[in-house]
Symmetry: C2
Subunit: 455 residues, 2 copies
């Protein structure tokens, strides 16, 4: 962020006075830094910069650029130049770009690509963005299994420029079926004349194109992979996912989870670059939903006004008891969300989890209940043994209730096919508050032996 | 998880009846899978398995194993065998293992290693686990800059077996100063006779050993790296961090953040493998702290009993108003935590952030205040224009208060050097509840013109 804001004005000046020198400066930068600098320019200057740079440099900056800004710039480029750049971009980024373009421009640009590139784009666009198919690229090294290691290295050398990685290559038969993976390490270490079919790993792990990106990330982590082949049901190679995409996905998922856990609809753009009113739209629906739930706390309190009139001290402990249920629930929810994110368990373990969390609610509620009991008994002027007992019992009951709802809701949400991280602390708290009041007041009525004046 | 539970009993049986065959079966597995299988065995069988396998296979399983279990097993191995295994383990995992061993065993094992290995272990143990120095390994390929590409490849081939990666090598001068990085890709693509000093990237990114692992992960993500050199102030090479460690760190950090955001002290072991009472210890302190804060809500409500006696409907809306402050605060907190996790801004931007969140609180509070106003006015029997106005204004005030505390607290926690993720939704809610009641009741007293009977 700092780099771009420092460089962008300089580069903008230089571009006006001496475009060739500006291009030289820009070329020195890493693609990711150059992309950030271009993102900081006005659209007009950014377009001028893309024209001034050598096309491969522009293409790699585009590969690394923010997707929204990139699509915006493409609409301002002359068509033949735009086609040239898309041809130089990496296959997966090119597909992402086409997805973001308006239909008319997409169709026009697509029609100007070679037949093979058109097929690649269409193939990559078939899968959802968050699946293995959406992450993969078709730029991988395919080798005939009968090649010797030296011939294979020659082949790698010949095609390296347009490949996403050359550190993993794949032996395929004439139909494109995956036979095994062979790393450049294996090739370099192979004995002279050794055919790659004897060096390759025939057991190589592969995934289907519809596998969720979180599961893909988990496989990379477990096996310390650099690349992972994506194959169809007949083991035909479709593409590969590389570790840099996985690192990117993991960072994105973490940022998304943090927002969901705070009851915010996720945004992708940085905080200060996100419009104030976009945040209002991302936050208001959740706040409204939770507010709509919480309104019933007022309804319940109104309904119990007779009990509160009979013993005014009841209401003094409402916030304390409600927050305990919500907090215990937030804890349970976070442990279940974490466990599912790490693949430790699934919806099938629901009964075991709920039972464990219920016991946890009893223990934790028991501790807090004891504290609550003595607080009511010993401090303040609203005390009395009966109310102290009622508060203590209600704390236990609410902790158990919170733990069950907090652990059950993420499982339910997962079962319905959504991301369990939306069962955030605030959301759980709003859910348990309404019934939590009912539990507390009913316990108090029972312990204190209150009766409705109407009966 | 499933794999291990399926294989472990079979393997255990086979190990008893036919140890050689068991070793053959185990060798077929990927190191990560084998590690999981061994983790599932009793300590005695696990030790027998480690003995039965070829030592390099055992060592790579140990590299991939849970740290606590690994340290436990090592205490049951015969010393000479333990030394042999540590020699075969990767340098970074070996250092982690030594850290986890009891002092007596550590000193004994360390004394049996070669001088160079001892130095490596001591060097790696100098840095905190969560720093670049804690992540790095000393098993990297160092090359003399005057080597030709072919000679460099020969050198890589010769030393490959003991290196963490051979895809990035480093040109160093006789003092060990980093001159540049050279990828195996560059070496394979170089022209015959080309010295590596002309192929290498002399501008290679490097980091100091005390850099935080989150910042290290951010650099890997930004530049799509496979390895990153760690150097001291004089640019002397200390080691390299590899991308698989970073993927692992990111997964761990995400799991940790989810727990912190749910107000749970993070655990590292899987949910079902974590003892019930360990979870009690991870949850109770946070619950107690929040409970301790919430107790003051009762104190405040007791103090305002005269106002609540004057208008019994005041208390009906307490939970609704408190939850609104807490929820708005959770949202603000999650956006600030996310921004800092992504490196979008730092503590220095506090004023800008607080001002933006205050305005956000006004807008969101305004919307909810309007709903609240009509709820009080139109529904239920506790209505009245004065109270409706008081509830509406208190909702605005609490949303603003929540937004300011929610955005300010993670900044403050970061400023104090802790992880801002501990300013979770439940924690923020507990903080704003106490003052939130005060704000609401004071607004109601003012709007309704109530006065204390004692005055």
């Amino acid at each position: 962020v700092r780099l771009a804001s420092l460089l962008a004005p300089d580069l903008e000046e230089t571009l006006k006075s001496n475009p060739l020198h500006a291009a030289e400066l820009a070329e020195e930068l890493h693609a990711a830094d150059l992309a950030e600098v271009i993102e900081g320019l006005t659209d007009e200057t950014a377009v001028a910069m893309l024209h001034a740079l050598p096309p491969p440099v522009s293409a790699s900056a585009l590969d690394a650029m923010n997707h929204a800004k990139r699509a915006e710039l493409f609409q301002k480029l002359e068509r033949p130049f735009a086609v040239q750049l898309t041809e130089l971009m990496s296959a997966d980024e090119r597909a992402d770009l086409f997805q973001a373009l308006p239909a008319e421009l997409r169709t026009d640009l697509l029609g100007r690509l070679t037949k093979e590139e058109q097929r690649d784009v269409r193939e990559l666009l078939r899968y959802p963005e968050t699946s293995a198919g959406g992450l993969m690229t078709t730029d991988y090294v395919a080798l005939k299994p009968e090649l010797t290691a030296e011939r294979a290295i020659d082949e790698v050398r010949r095609t390296a420029a347009e490949k996403e990685t050359i550190y993993e290559a794949y032996a395929v038969d004439p139909n494109g079926t995956l036979l095994g993976s062979v790393s450049l390490r294996d090739l370099v270490l192979a004995r002279v004349g050794q055919p790659i079919s004897t060096v390759m790993n025939a057991d190589t792990i592969s995934v289907p194109p519809d596998m969720n990106q979180e599961d893909v990330a988990r496989i990379f982590q477990r096996y310390g992979l650099l690349a992972l082949p994506v194959v169809d049901a007949a083991r035909k190679m479709l593409g590969i996912v590389t570790v840099d995409d996985v690192v990117h996905v993991m960072k994105e998922e973490q940022a998304e989870a943090i927002q969901k856990l705070g009851a915010v609809q996720p945004t992708e753009t940085p905080y200060f670059e996100t419009d104030f009113w976009v945040f209002v739209r991302k936050r208001a629906p959740w706040l409204m939903a939770m507010f709509g739930g919480e309104i019933f706390t007022a309804t319940i309190l109104e309904r119990y006004s007779w009990a509160r009139a009979a013993n005014q001290a009841i209401e003094v402990f409402v916030p304390l008891i409600l927050s305990t249920g919500g907090n215990t629930g937030s804890q349970s929810s976070s442990l279940v969300i974490r466990g599912m994110a790490l693949g430790e368990f699934g919806v099938g373990d629901a009964v075991k989890i709920l039972w464990r969390e219920l016991r946890m609610g009893m223990v934790l509620g028991g501790m807090l209940g004891l504290f609550g009991f003595f607080r009511v008994l010993l401090v303040g002027h609203s005390g009395g043994g009966g109310l102290a007992l009622a508060v203590g019992l209600a704390l236990i009951a609410n902790a158990c209730f919170g733990a069950v709802v907090g652990s059950g809701l993420p499982l339910l949400i997962k079962r319905m096919g959504y991301d369990p991280a939306v069962s955030s602390g605030p959301f759980i708290a709003s859910l348990v508050d309404v019934l939590g009041i009912g539990i507390y007041v009913e316990v108090a009525i029972w312990v204190l032996g209150l009766s409705h004046p109407g009966h």
